[in-house]
Symmetry: C2
Subunit: 147 residues, 2 copies
């Protein structure tokens, strides 16, 4: 039931960008603030850009920012897009499934229903909701609290 590191980092990048909406954020600063390797963050930022959550500006003086207001980004959407694999058990992956009872078993339906409930619940939270303590987050991330 653990989110992948990529999903975790993606949420942290979005939180950082939501706390600092006035200026472009850099991967270097985000890396320092969280103590996460730049390499990991570069991949995550690339994907967040591809999915339309971030806008990136290349080159000197470049950086990243949210592609839309934080109140428009649902946590559930980010998790849906970032988790490559929402398969909870073998039977969710037909090509790797060796469970002999799959065709008659009701568990897959139960697990799918529960996963939908999980994602629906996450959709009730936007990036604005989870960054409501902006001042404190700004301080913890070593951002200028006046920004």
């Amino acid at each position: 039931m653990r989110l992948t590191a990529h999903t975790d980092y993606a949420l942290r990048v979005l939180i950082y960008a939501a706390v600092e909406p006035a200026s472009l954020c850099t991967i270097e600063r985000i890396s320092e603030a969280y103590g996460i390797s730049r390499n990991h963050l570069m991949k995550v930022v690339q994907r967040l850009g591809d999915y339309g959550f971030l806008e990136t500006v290349r080159g000197r003086g470049g950086g990243l920012k949210l592609a839309m207001p934080a109140s428009k980004i649902c946590v559930g959407d980010v998790v849906r897009k970032m988790e490559d694999d929402l398969a909870q058990a073998e039977c969710f992956r037909p090509e790797q499934n060796s469970c002999v009872i799959t065709s008659a078993c009701g568990l897959k339906h139960a697990l799918s229903t529960a996963l939908e409930a999980y994602l629906d619940a996450l959709d009730q939270f936007t990036l604005a909701d989870v960054t409501r303590n902006r001042k404190a987050l700004s301080r913890l991330l070593d951002l200028d609290p006046a920004a």
Copy 2:
């Protein structure tokens, strides 16, 4: 978002026992039916016994059976008990957490809420529900369909 192998196997063992309520099941037969190693199953069966889902009878002619009717066993309960770790991100494990924003971040609350929704949804399904196709399950598990 994947269940551990132990949770997956636990659910399979319970399904097997639910399909064959009239007699004691053996780990050997369950191991053959699913192609899962006996060693893994022994650990899983031990835990299912400890949690009160299975009754086990030791010795020659011994085996296992459900400790209560399948309609009384909620899938959510099995998952809650078998998943050692329902931590979805670092911040759920205070002793290993290195995320600097934990004290001000709203994400943990969102993820906790979603996890509850997931488990609540699973609680709507009993072992009886997921083994409703008993005849077909019995055939797929190589059990006597007349049993």
